[in-house]
């Protein structure tokens, strides 16, 4: 359907001024959403960029006028080894999570296509349960499972011959802390990837696969040459989303730090912005780091948006 006719009985459109056009048809319907999003996403975004170019510390929080310092905050941040440590940690951590999530998710999706119906439903329900858990609840539960003294993980592993992990702290060593964090995040993200990829796999036309089979291809060749190209757009979108989510992770790291772990050695960039801005009281530097985080996301975000629009239009 094309344009909405104006309500019946109205005279045909006159040359309308901008205000009049705004108050008619689609624009009127868009106004409430636009006002809320502009006020609470657009305006803060502008404020963020301004703040990142200002000297904005405790004095300014209590009312002193902020002083414009140009790129000063950015230079301070980029010259701070602590920032680079946080950034490197975040990138490595996100990389490990994305690899684990995509790998396991795709493997489980393929597994789902191979299972008989009852078993597939059982596995799907399990995946949905993990997916549905609130991230904070999930983190707290895993924290309890990895508990030093009474955690079930230490107990079960200690049942293996030659292993005694009772009293072992999983959260004290940074690498081990991130291992636990990766387990939590992967556990929660895999269901989404697995179920989405599975949906994509079921759309692969059977005739094409049969034709390929008649041409003498083996199973792996058919998977690589027919199935993978068919689901590639879905995989790309998933990959971008996982990168975006995992690089800025906050809830799981923050909650895990509450349960145990050395904060300075386990902070990722999402938590770092929070710490610098609140506990550190340096909103200028926090703003600069936040802008850097936004810039980091541009490439995966643009790829995601392009891919979404393309599928939308096809």
């Amino acid at each position: 359907m094309s344009t909405l006719a104006p309500a019946r009985g109205l005279p045909p459109r006159r040359a309308a001024g901008p205000l009049r056009r705004l108050l008619r048809g689609p624009w009127l319907l868009l106004i409430p959403a636009a006002v809320v999003v502009l006020a609470l996403t657009g305006w803060p975004l502008i404020q963020l960029v301004i703040m990142s170019t200002q000297e904005f510390g405790r004095a300014q929080i209590f009312g002193a006028p902020p002083e414009f310092v140009g790129l000063g905050n950015y230079l301070d941040v980029l010259g701070d080894p602590a920032f680079w440590a946080v950034l490197g940690r975040s990138v490595l951590f996100a990389g490990a999570n994305v690899l684990a999530t995509m790998g396991l998710g795709i493997a489980i999706a393929v597994l789902l296509t191979r299972l008989a119906r009852v078993m597939r439903t059982v596995v799907s329900i399990g995946l949905l349960l993990a997916w549905a858990m609130p991230p904070l609840s999930a983190t707290v539960v895993w924290g309890w499972m990895f508990d030093t003294r009474a955690g079930v993980v230490n107990y079960l592993l200690s049942q293996l011959p030659g292993v005694d992990l009772i009293g072992h702290s999983w959260l004290f060593e940074p690498l081990s802390f991130f291992f636990v964090a990766t387990v939590i995040i992967t556990w929660q993200s895999v269901p989404f990837v697995a179920i989405t990829v599975y949906a994509g796999l079921t759309q692969v036309p059977g005739e094409v696969l049969e034709a390929a089979q008649l041409d003498g291809t083996n199973g792996w060749q058919r998977f690589r040459l027919v199935t993978v190209p068919f689901v590639r757009p879905v995989l790309l979108v998933l990959l971008m989303l996982q990168i975006i989510w995992d690089i800025r992770v906050f809830t799981q790291i923050k909650a895990l730090q509450t349960i145990g772990g050395v904060q300075e050695q386990t902070t990722t960039i999402g938590v770092y912005i929070y710490t610098v801005s609140t506990a550190g009281g340096n909103l200028g530097a926090g703003g600069a780091i936040a802008v850097i985080l936004v810039l980091l996301m541009i490439v995966p975000a643009v790829l995601y948006i392009r891919s979404t629009l393309r599928q939308e239009e096809s």
């Binding site: 597994l111 789902l112 991230p135 609140t278």
Partner: protein, 308 residues
């Protein structure tokens, strides 16, 4: 999903199918050994997915003394509801559950109503009108989704501070509404576009007004779409942690996630059973809603986000 929303639950933007739906492909015949391997793998995936959820509920049902026994109790043999009752009725210090539950319900339900209403209007504009600048708006919806909460939170704090809305439900409702709107618009737009406009046109031929045709014909068919989108908004708002942590700083304005973190901080050395009870109470509504609508949600997301 809205990348602006920090939780992954209900994530979308890509298709998902109802996992119980029959696959068009028949499982291929394979040897007994192959079938055993597949089913063993399936059991491993199932146990790994479910065990933490089971462990949360199991620990919550154990008596506080037995939860820390050196040999864990793998089923609630020292069954008690005392942990739940304790969490609800005996606040430790200022970490009270009921006010946090009330705040979470108020904020979440208000967000759902506001987001559904605003998103519905915008979705109709984007699905039923053709106008200059429409593509720009569609792209803007996607771009806004990509702005990370983690980057925005401090400046949102300052903006709310300027409007005297810190530590108020209204402030958090506005923030959550803005956060979930891009995704809810996107999904609802897919639902509206999926309903044939010819029905409305037929009603208009029969004498309905434009608005009447939409209201009497299309709107009733949108029920499933509105329900699925509403549940999405509910889960996002209910789970949200970072904004709530920064904006609701007073004990009496905490939402459930902030309450849970404070509770962990205060009792983690002593009372895991109570923490698991609190965690379960927070998770139950989300899990129930999620499981109820997941099929519709998934098809809605597929309709809204991919097939167009």
């Amino acid at each position: 999903m809205s990348a602006a929303v920090s939780s992954r639950t209900g994530a979308g933007g890509v298709p998902a199918a109802s996992p119980g739906a029959p696959s068009r492909r028949r499982p291929r015949r394979r040897g007994l050994g192959g079938r055993i391997v597949l089913n063993v793998l399936a059991v491993i995936v199932f146990v790994a997915s479910v065990f933490p959820v089971y462990w949360m509920v199991n620990s919550a049902l154990l008596s506080p003394g037995s939860v820390r026994d050196s040999t864990p109790h793998f089923w609630p043999d020292t069954f008690t509801l005392g942990n739940f009752i304790g969490v609800i009725t005996e606040p430790s210090g200022s970490i009270e559950f009921l006010p946090a539950l009330g705040m979470s319900l108020l904020v979440t339900l208000s967000t759902v109503v506001a987001a559904l209403l605003f998103a519905f209007l915008a979705a109709v504009a984007l699905a039923r009108f053709r106008f200059v600048g429409k593509r720009g708006i569609v792209i803007a919806v996607l771009v806004v989704q990509m702005v990370p909460v983690e980057a925005l939170v401090v400046s949102v704090y300052r903006v709310l501070d300027g409007w005297q809305l810190l530590n108020t439900a209204l402030g958090l409702i506005l923030v959550y509404t803005a956060t979930v709107l891009p995704f809810t618009i996107w999904v609802l737009r897919g639902f509206v576009a999926g309903l044939p406009a010819e029905l409305e046109e037929a009603a208009m031929v029969d004498g309905c007004s434009r608005f009447g045709a939409f209201w009497r014909v299309t709107f009733p068919l949108l029920g499933p779409g509105l329900a699925a989108t509403g549940v999405f908004a509910f889960i996002q708002a209910w789970n949200e942690f970072l904004y709530a942590l920064v904006i609701m700083t007073r004990p009496e304005t905490r939402t459930l996630p902030v309450w849970l973190r404070a509770f962990v901080q205060a009792t983690k050395e002593t009372d895991w059973a109570a923490i698991m009870a609190g965690s379960t109470l927070m998770a139950i509504p989300v899990i129930v809603f999620f499981l109820i609508v997941q099929g519709r949600m998934a098809s809605g997301v597929a309709a809204g986000a991919v097939k167009g």
